[in-house]
Structure formats: structure tokens, C-alpha cells
Point group: D2
Chain length 140, copies 4
């Protein structure tokens, strides 16, 4: 993951039986949940968790998501999930990388792109609201 | 399912791969989704779907749920799910029965209990709001 | 969606309350479930549903997925989901398009890429197994 | 929770945005996932995690589940989930209690009942297999 920004976080998540599918591995769609857990930790690190977002008057819907699967994972496997901010000026792009906590072997990567929407007017913001830049230490 | 009420509906739902777990069968928690699909159809039948609920000023959180598993189900299996109103005076109790669509064999049963809460004050209603009785044809 | 192949299917799915999130719209990760429902219908149309896959000795894990969100959807909204095979020679690429069933307005699009893996050796097949080409009418 | 056994565990889980529904609270069905996370920790504590279960030749499907909702929970709320073995002779009954980690206020309780099934014959065991009793220190 390449980014000039330098806002990132790594969390651990242990998969559960309910994350798996009939192939005996974690169902491919569930990695968006793991990405979200890391994204939530990233936003919380910069004091802009879900509650602060609501208070700021902006929503941040995901408008684009990509997931690449390198290796499968199973139930009761501990994963390290890294979320790193790559872009922030007009929209937020966060890259993700998931590795097995024991071996460090990469299992999954991907990204999500979010835009800011006014909670009151539902209008999209074409520049990132100042509050996010401030919280993440990106304002000049 | 025994009820003097006589408000019920039966829907079909075909399970998907993402409903399954590593045992090769539908994960036990997903039946609450199937119950919900039948409950939604029941409320819509009586013109009290999600949108009408919101407009009526009441929310109906589930406060108690039970699921009994008689037989497992697999991916791409078509199920018939029946939801039937059993109680309505102080709270809503809905019974569910799931059978295999081809064989009629019972796979799952259970119930949910919901109470009415004012959308504005969040206060619980100790009698069922008139609007529900009216819509379901239960008012005198 | 552009494809020279001509294997496609369109299904309807009505969203449920459990598909939504605290923003009041369908949670972004759940569209991979909707894609899967259309993909399952596509495979079943060509007599290669989950059971037939198992019997054929191949598994088809998703190795890449992309989702683009054009408009949000809500609970109890009926969607039309189209799945169309775009590539098949070395891997399967399926494109998806979701529109509102009433208005035809596009809400979501994306793709998934799957590779064939031997159920016995877990080895990846670098060409698509003959059985799939045969079932889909793509063999010469 | 009353039990003469004395096999229990308490874990912490922080809810995510994807756990919520359009009412702004955690969707009622997701508590079965939280119960499962605590149950997995309980079994692992006694060296009988998912992998060990598979090796022991027994599966443990849930045949009955109940959930009682005392208070709702929201996104990014840390919960303490306790799982405690109540019965074990013919079937396993585990009780659950979820409290808010900060205030200790109860939000949810319930139970699951599981029976042992032979992984090879799929036949149900009417007494609990010795391996479980041994691992949990319940054999005499």
C-alpha cells in the first residue's frame, strides 16, 4: 500500500463460524465487514468515529469497493487488518490489507471509496469537508 | 400453529450459498432473516409495511425470539415460510413455520414478540396501537 | 455490460429490513449477496448449480470483486439483478447490474472473477474446465 | 445465569456499523453472532475449538435458540458477552448474557441448545460424547 498520507491503523479480528460458507472458508462477501472494522478503527483513531460523523453533519457512503482474494481463511483464524488512507482531497480512498496474524501471509486486499454527503440536504460534497482534514491532521 | 386470529401469509425463499456455513448447511442464525421475510410479507398484506409503520409513528422492535431446528437446509433449497399472528392485544406474537417447498417436510419453527414504541418519545406502548388493529381487521 | 458471450439472466429480489444499516439504506456489503443470488440463477439456468458443481469436481472461488454504487436502496424495495458472463476461457468474469424494478433506475453495478479449483487437489485450473463450457454452450 | 457446572467465559466485542439496521440499532438477529463468538471462546478455553471438534468426529448443531432483548445497542458499542454451560449430560445448553462494557447494564440474554452428531454417520448421540466431558473436566 502506497500513500503519501500516513494515516493508518492495524487491528486484529478473529473469524467466527458464522463467517464461513459451505466451502469451509470465510464467505467472500464478509471481507467487506473486516474492512469496515479496520475503517472504523481508523476513523476512531482520528476522533471521527460514527458518533462524531453524525455530529459533524456529514454522512460518508461507500461509492466504490474492490476486494482481491489471495488466500482463503477459515473459522477461528486471527487476522491482522490494516486500513490506510490514500486519497482525501475530493473523496476518501482507503486501502486495506489482511494478513494471517501468525504467519503474516497476505490473504486479502482491496479498497473503498467514500464521498461526503450533507446529512440535512443529502447533497454530495465535491471537496472533502474541513472537519475531516482537521481531525486527520491534513489541513494546512 | 394455533391462533384464533387468522392473519397469516406464506412466502417462498430460495436459500443462497452465502446463507450456509462450514458444516455445509444454512447457518442457524440466518433463519431469523427468513422469519423476517415472512413477517414483512404479513405486514405488507395488511397494508402496514415498513414505510407505513414509519408513517404511523410507531416502531416495533423484537423483544423476544425463539427458533427450533428440526432439520437442516442447504444452499439453493426452496423453502415455504409461514408467518401467523398469534397475539396482538398488548404485544405482537408471530409464529413461524418453515417447510421444504418440494416435500413439505418441516425444517424450522419459532416465534418473535414485538412491542410498539413511539417513534418520537421512544416510550413503550402497553396496549397495541389502534392503527395496527385497524389494518389487521382486529378492531371491533 | 458488453459481452460477446450471451449468457445472462435477470432475477428479482426484494430487500429486507435486515439488509439495511443505521443510515436507513441497504448496507454496501450486502450487494455481494444480491450479486450471488443472480450468479446462482445464471449457473442454474445452464444446469450447473451448486450441486452440479460439487458433482463436477470443481470449486469456483471468487478471487476478485468490484462494486460501484450509483444510488442507494431501502428496505422492501424490489430490485432487478442481471448477471452476464463476460469472460470464460481462463477464468469466469460475470458482470452485474442492479436496477429498481419499478423505475428501471440503475442503483449498483460490478463484477466478480472466479477461477476453477480441483475439489480433490485444491489446485487451480489455468483453463476453464470443459464441463462449464459444455453446460454454457461455449465449447466448439 | 444459574448453573452448577462452572464452565464460563466472558469476551468483549465491539459492534460495527454493519451490525446495525435502519432503526439505528443492532439488528436483532445479529445477537446470535455475538452469542457464537462467546461460545467459540468457551469451547476454545476447554481445548475443544472448531478444529478439535472436527478431529473428534462430532458436529454440534444448534437445535434450539432463544434471545431476550432488554435494551438496544448501537454501532461502535463495546459489549461484554458471557457464555456459561448449564447442561451437558444429553445435550449442551449454554446461557448467554450481554452487558454494556462501560455501564454493566444488561442488553440481551438467551441460550442455545446443541446436540452431538457423528460426523460420519450423521446420527445423533443421545448422551454427550466422552471427549467433551473430558475436555470440560466434567467426567468422573
Amino acid at each position: 500500500m502506497k500513500s503519501n498520507v500516513n494515516c493508518h491503523v492495524t487491528i486484529e479480528y478473529t473469524t467466527s463460524f458464522h463467517d464461513t460458507d459451505a466451502m469451509g472458508v470465510v464467505w467472500h462477501g464478509n471481507y467487506l465487514k473486516f474492512f469496515e472494522k479496520a475503517r472504523e478503527a481508523l476513523f476512531q483513531k482520528y476522533n471521527y468515529g460514527y458518533k462524531q460523523m453524525m455530529e459533524s453533519g456529514f454522512l460518508w457512503p461507500v461509492v466504490d469497493a474492490r476486494i482481491k482474494y489471495t488466500a482463503s481463511t477459515v473459522a477461528e483464524q486471527t487476522l491482522q487488518i490494516t486500513a490506510e488512507l490514500e486519497e482525501y482531497e475530493h473523496r476518501i480512498k482507503i486501502n486495506y490489507k489482511i494478513v494471517d496474524a501468525k504467519t503474516g501471509k497476505k490473504t486479502t486486499s482491496g479498497y473503498t471509496i467514500q464521498v461526503a454527503i450533507s446529512a440535512t440536504t443529502q447533497e454530495m460534497s465535491f471537496v472533502t469537508p474541513h472537519i475531516l482534514l482537521e481531525r486527520f491532521g491534513l489541513s494546512e
